[in-house]
């Protein structure tokens, strides 16, 4: 049984077919990467999977349950959360507050609990704050907890987006270029972090241009170009694939 599976999905913007008859699947506990040149349709694929766009054709299954056509909000409750290529934090809120908004759907008290400050309010809020703080600590952001999100460095903001996605309770994380803008040390940390996520029972679908990260963490790789799948396989298979090198870098001499 696949955790997530897309069957023959297509999406066009006017005349441009951004995703063209694409198939892929990911099993629980795997790290699967999607790579490809700029404009290949990777982010569009994420937007489809998370319900921002509706497919023209094809089906998507999460735990064998069809999720294409579901509202983006509902997809989160099916256990899929994501980060954005162009960071979309709640920039005017604190780091911990960003995580707490992420935890909203499992922050279980009512409007009136909040208004009248019931015992339940304090119990749930305190628990969520502690969990949020631990989550941030696991990403090395504990010193930044009280800061406002837009005061973080680029790399820290990317980490915060991951923390916020994890706070939703989703076990399948879609990470769109998490290493972009990170320095060498940060992307190395990220690599370790993603491996650890796997050990914690998370499943990761990763879009990434940083090949050090991709080749090191991926169990399986799909290569996309012009919306189509041009190759798939294990990292060493992709590394030695001429077509991939051609499409990806326009030069078969370059080694991935």
């Amino acid at each position: 049984m696949n955790l997530l599976r897309a069957e023959n999905i297509s999406l066009s913007f006017g005349g441009l077919t951004a995703v063209n008859d694409f198939n892929f699947y990911i099993n629980e506990g795997q790290v699967v990467s999607i790579i490809g040149p700029n404009g290949a349709g990777k982010t569009t694929l994420f937007n489809i999977l998370t319900g921002i766009y509706k497919v023209n054709q094809g089906k998507i299954y999460m735990n064998e349950e069809p999720i294409d056509g579901l509202h983006a909000r509902k997809i989160v409750s099916k256990g899929i959360a994501r980060t954005f290529q162009n960071i979309r934090l709640f920039s005017d809120m604190r780091v911990i507050e960003n995580v707490l908004v992420g935890a909203h759907i499992n922050t279980d008290y009512s409007f009136f609990d909040g208004l009248f400050r019931t015992k339940r309010f304090y119990e749930v809020e305190n628990k969520k704050k502690q969990e949020g703080a631990k989550l941030l600590e696991s990403l090395g952001l504990e010193g930044r907890l009280s800061d406002y999100a837009d005061n973080l460095s680029y790399g820290e903001q990317r980490k915060l987006e991951i923390a916020r996605a994890m706070a939703t309770g989703a076990k399948l994380l879609l990470l769109d270029e998490p290493a972009a803008g990170m320095n060498h040390q940060e992307s190395e940390d990220l690599r370790v972090f993603i491996s650890n996520l796997k050990n914690l029972g998370y499943t990761i679908l990763l879009i990434e241009h940083d090949m050090r990260v991709v080749m090191n963490v991926s169990d399986y790789i799909y290569v996309m170009d012009y919306g189509k799948k041009i190759a798939e396989g294990r990292p060493h298979e992709i590394q030695s694939n001429e077509a991939v090198a051609m499409a990806y870098l326009g030069d078969s001499e370059v080694h991935l």
């Binding site: 954005f84 709640f90 005017d92 911990i96 909203h104 631990k134 090395g140 009280s146 650890n196």
Partner: protein, 329 residues
């Protein structure tokens, strides 16, 4: 940081003491009336702030909700001889319900479109007031609205009862705003203001929260309206024009959108201003406009619109053993 914390507490405690003891200072009824008006406008600003300051939805029609609260309360007090508390509750609920009715179809509209619809709403309310004679007494307005009577006591300016009633309502609304904003509800509203798509991607039903913001905002505004009706004992359609909606918006922006303290300052400044600058009265909107332009340029967050630099309180100790990544710096 803890120093700042105690400074805050001292400032707040002093203000509360001052407000409680104000009648002892022997001000004239004229001055006390202005102070009560400040209180009403602070409530109005707090109400609009929920929409504009926290959720990022700009309403230009809050005079409409103010009117519904005022007319609703006055109508039930005069025509049905209902007691003040019940009438005020009805006025508040009525206004909140209109907030729901207006919010439901308009919630998908963004920015300018929403503002224009709310503007139209307030105009419609005014037209209805002028024409629905049997309820609103048409253009003649409603007069002899009774002063509040609570448990057999008449509350008026002379015995300061109406002042303390204002303080009570202001305190209630302030506390309510505080608890709502400092809960998952307020966090969600602020998240919506910051990024609607990202908020949706947290699994949050943002339309629901926008409507909730509308209802809360309209209810608070209606409450202020009901109280205003009994304070002034006469209301007509002229009291609820476009300039009122703009005035409230100016208070919110001047004081500091998305803060509670700012609403107090914004209302105080813009109510005092015409009193001390009578000759400028006819120019006041020019002055307000000018103030807003200056503010937008030099201090867009408003006079008191700073970010808290206090540490965010996390209950209990966070253990150090949860780190998965060691970060060297």
């Amino acid at each position: 940081m803890s120093e700042k914390f105690t400074v805050d507490k001292i400032v707040i405690a002093s203000i509360i003491l001052l407000l409680l003891g104000l009648p002892l200072l022997g001000f004239s009824q004229y001055v006390m009336r202005i102070v009560i008006l400040m209180g009403i406008y602070t409530i109005l600003a707090l109400g609009l702030n929920i929409l504009v300051g926290y959720t990022g939805l700009v309403s230009l029609g809050h005079a409409g909700f103010f009117a519904i609260g005022a007319y609703g309360t006055a109508y039930f007090m005069i025509q049905h001889s209902v007691g003040f508390i019940v009438a005020l509750t009805i006025g508040t609920l009525l206004s909140g319900f209109m907030g729901f009715v207006l919010g439901l179809p308009t919630i998908r509209l963004s920015g300018t479109y929403l503002s224009i619809v709310t503007l139209g709403f307030a105009m419609i309310v005014q037209v209805v007031i002028m024409n629905w004679d049997s309820v609103t007494n048409g253009t003649l307005g409603m007069s002899q609205i009774p002063k509040p009577n609570i448990l057999g006591y008449d509350l008026n300016l002379a015995n300061h009862g109406i002042y303390y009633l204002m303080l009570f309502l202001l305190g209630l609304v302030t506390l309510g705003c505080y608890t709502i904003i400092h809960s998952k509800i307020g966090r969600t509203l602020r998240a919506i203001k910051s990024d609607e798509l990202a908020t949706t991607m947290m699994g949050i039903h943002i339309d629901r929260y926008k409507i909730l913001a509308f209802v809360l905002s309209a209810s608070i505004t209606g409450l202020a309206g009901g109280f205003y009706a009994t304070l002034s004992s006469y209301i007509d359609h002229n009291s609820f024009g476009f300039d009122l909606s703009i005035l409230i918006l100016c208070m919110v922006i001047l004081g500091g959108m998305g803060t509670i303290r700012g609403m107090y300052l914004g209302a105080a400044l813009l109510i005092i201003f015409p009193e001390i600058a009578r000759p400028l009265m006819s120019w006041r909107f020019v002055v307000y406009g000018f103030v807003l332009i200056i503010m937008m340029h030099f201090r867009p967050q408003g006079v008191l619109g700073w970010r808290s630099r206090r540490k965010y309180p996390i209950p209990g100790e966070v253990k150090k053993s949860y780190r998965m990544v060691e970060v060297e710096e």
